[in-house]
């Protein structure tokens, strides 16, 4: 399933609801475009809701890292929310679970910005 991304404001932060696969090609490109667009609009506190993302390949992992470092580089922060088991296991395997701020509750992710 192709990746879909919608975003909603939540106070000072923006939650991006993603569904589908983050893989080489359109999926990775859409994630990049979405995050860069938010940063360009000065929405620098970003939560990526991955509840409906059940597949990520190495390109998708690279895009998550890129989103994280780009947000940081612009003075912002990017957090991950609701990892599926496959994505959780993949981030653990690649040691990125300790790099990202990961949350299981949206309220906790949002309050972490304050």
């Amino acid at each position: 399933m192709a990746l879909r991304a919608t975003h909603r404001d939540a106070g000072q932060a923006t939650v991006v609801d993603l569904s589908g696969k983050i893989t080489l090609g359109e999926g990775s490109a859409l994630l990049r475009k979405t995050v860069r667009g938010l940063l360009d609009d000065k929405r620098t506190h970003i939560v990526l809701n991955l509840a409906d993302v059940d597949y990520i390949d190495s390109s998708g992992i690279g895009e998550l890292v890129s989103a994280y470092t780009t947000a940081k580089g612009r003075g912002g922060e990017l957090k991950l929310l609701h990892l599926t088991k496959k994505v959780h296991d993949l981030l653990q395997l690649t040691k990125l679970y300790t790099v990202f701020d990961v949350y299981t509750e949206e309220s906790a992710a949002l309050s972490s910005f304050q």
Binding site: T23, L24, G25, D57, S58, S59, I61, G62, E63, V65, S66, Y68, T69, K86, L93, T94, K95, L96, V99
Partner: protein, 161 residues
């Protein structure tokens, strides 16, 4: 498993769509061979990463070059070859993505994932002059434990890249 030996070959274009095509083809073979859901995921991901490697690093995304995918089912394992038409590379030269200085790299995890997800993995010089990835997964044992081919093979992170 008692699976009859099978041999499949496909020549893929150097384009993004080939990644999905290769993954889907190998998934069908893996499912038919009796691999469980977890192993199918690992095989599919490994094929995807192998073809991405050939597409991007081997063939440099040049459309005149081809990607050669071969799948063999023997009596005890599924063997996958991914051959590109690039200049080849040495495994020892691939940076370790788990090293502190590489953790925030936006690329370089494909080889690592293939090594982690498959039981056997190697890169050899191919007949085209490019790199040939050779990887294999042991066929699930046919038993009555109800595990449906779920195995822990390849779940351990490899040493190095």
């Amino acid at each position: 498993m008692g699976t009859d030996p099978k041999h499949l070959e496909i020549t893929l274009e150097t384009q993004v769509e080939s990644v999905n095509l290769a993954e889907e083809m190998c998934l069908r073979v893996a499912e038919a061979a009796g691999f469980g859901e977890d192993d199918c995921y690992k095989i599919g991901m490994s094929v995807r990463e192998g073809v991405i490697n050939a597409f991007h690093y081997g063939n440099q995304e040049r459309p005149e070059k081809k990607i050669h995918l071969t799948v063999d089912l023997t009596g005890d394992k599924m063997i996958i070859h991914v051959l590109d038409e690039g200049t080849g590379f040495t495994l020892a030269d691939v940076p370790n993505p788990l090293a502190e200085e590489n953790l925030l790299s936006t690329s370089g995890r494909g080889i690592f994932l293939m090594r982690a997800f498959m039981d056997e993995f190697d890169v050899v010089p191919g007949r085209t002059g490019g790199a040939e990835i050779v990887m294999a997964k042991k066929l699930p044992l046919q038993d009555n434990t109800g595990t449906n081919g779920q195995s822990s093979h390849g779940a351990t992170p490899p040493q190095g890249a």
